[in-house]
């Protein structure tokens, strides 16, 4: 059973993303904004399995999160798909210390991308009713989420990265080290 759980950890953790999304603990928020949870899972997955897998999983993640989110007019798919592709192109750092901080930086940039794309959708949809500056007061959401996501990424991404590597049999990491 334990072996099975270890092997299927990526599926179990994937299924838990919407649960964590709903949970959204108050004590992990910054300026009332919680981290962008799907990126913590998408980054290690895409780095291990590549851009195509990143794209597909980004699409699935976006579809699931759009289903559980209240806003039916806007979608998270473009941001997650682009992040998935980008994460897949990044190399795995052999230096553990640097890798930790790299996760933080990468997640912050991806969070900025996802949030900006979402914000533009809101702007474009409401452009006919209101002027472009109408929604600018909520731009703080982007920076708050970028900060808190970047802060937690080193911890969570590293943990998931190790778990995914174990479940995969460390072949990619071993190949990378052999190179």
């Amino acid at each position: 059973m334990e072996k099975y759980l270890k092997k299927k950890i990526y599926i179990i953790s994937f299924l838990f993303i919407p649960i964590v999304y709903f949970w959204d603990p108050d004590w992990l928020e910054f300026l009332g904004v919680q981290p962008y949870w799907p990126l913590f899972w998408l980054l290690p997955w895409s780095m291990i399995y590549g851009s195509i897998d990143g794209l597909i999983v980004g699409l699935f993640l976006g579809m699931i999160l759009d289903s559980v989110s209240p806003d039916s007019s806007f979608t998270q798919i473009p941001g997650l798909v682009l992040s998935g592709i980008w994460f897949g192109k990044l190399s795995i750092s052999s230096n553990g210390f640097i890798a930790h901080f790299r996760y933080g930086l990468i997640c912050s940039i991806a969070c900025f991308l996802c949030n900006s794309l979402y914000f533009f959708q809101i702007l474009i949809k409401n452009l006919s009713d209101n002027n472009i500056f109408f929604y600018f007061s909520s731009i703080g959401n982007i920076f708050a989420q970028v900060f808190i996501t970047g802060l937690l990424a080193p911890l969570l991404c590293s943990l998931l990265f190790v778990l995914f590597q174990k479940s995969r049999g460390k072949d990619k990491l071993i190949r990378f080290i052999n190179k």
């Binding site: 009332g32 209240p70 806003d71 806007f74 909520s138």
Partner: protein
């Protein structure tokens, strides 16, 4: 000599009785001039232990409440009849459903709360949710055991509101932060800080006159409309219990 002494001892001021009468007259004069204030103050001190206590106050409060309740029922009946004539939305006659908040997302763009009552309990899409303070949002999705409520602060939320003081209608638009904006499509409208926003009686989605928020600041005029920042009365980030109310056509 004897006569003179007798006369002098018989002067009126030598008699105690006369002095008493004089003091009494002086007292009456003082009471008259002060319009009985001395009596009133004395009565205040004497009656203090016998003033209406908590018990009498409760009886009176109850009576007043009953009076208000009867008036309220009468007004509600009239309102229902008139809204039926005008074919506007009204509250359902059925009782409200109490629900607990089991998940809340009150930050970032995705602003919703999830309640522990769903289709099984008779919650319908479009029902609106109120909490302590006023309106919180509308049910936009239900599952068997839960219902999702889109909050007024969500960028997706648009609700018809009005200010009763100036009888002006507007639109409350969520921006994705804690302070939604109210848009009034008339720049001559005289909105002031502190005005209370209620759901619009002309709304086709919500019943009328549910408290929504208070005008916090008024923006500069833009084109043909006026906008104001709203401080919501219902605080979803701190509420654990809400009421789901159905809208009847």
């Amino acid at each position: 000599m004897v006569d003179i002494r007798r006369i002098s001892t018989n002067r009126w001021w030598h008699k105690k009785k006369n002095w008493g009468l004089f003091i009494f007259l002086l007292f009456l004069f003082f009471v008259r001039i002060s319009k009985g204030s001395l009596y009133k103050d004395l009565y205040f001190l004497i009656s203090k232990p016998f003033w209406p206590g908590q018990f009498q106050r409760e009886i009176l409060t109850k009576s007043v409440e009953q009076e208000f309740f009867i008036k309220f029922k009468q007004l509600e009946k009239d309102n229902k009849r008139l809204r039926e004539i005008l074919s506007l939305k009204r509250l359902s006659d059925s009782e409200s459903i109490s629900a607990t908040v089991i998940s809340r997302k009150t930050g970032s763009w995705w602003r919703q709360i999830i309640l522990n009552k769903g289709e099984k309990d008779g919650v319908e899409v479009g029902s609106f949710v109120v909490g302590p303070g006023g309106l919180l949002g509308r049910v936009n999705n239900t599952s068997l055991f839960t219902s999702s409520v889109i909050l007024l602060t969500s960028p997706e939320s648009k609700v018809g509101v009005w200010i009763e003081r100036i009888q002006s209608h507007g639109l409350l638009v969520g921006l994705g932060n804690d302070y939604p904006k109210a848009i009034f499509y008339n720049k001559e409208v005289n909105i002031e800080v502190g005005d209370i926003l209620l759901t619009s009686p002309a709304s086709t989605l919500l019943p009328p006159n549910i408290p929504v928020g208070i005008i916090q600041s008024v923006d500069e005029e833009l084109q043909a409309k006026k906008t104001a920042n709203i401080l919501l009365l219902g605080k979803p980030q701190a509420i654990d219990w809400v009421q789901i109310l159905k809208v009847a056509i």
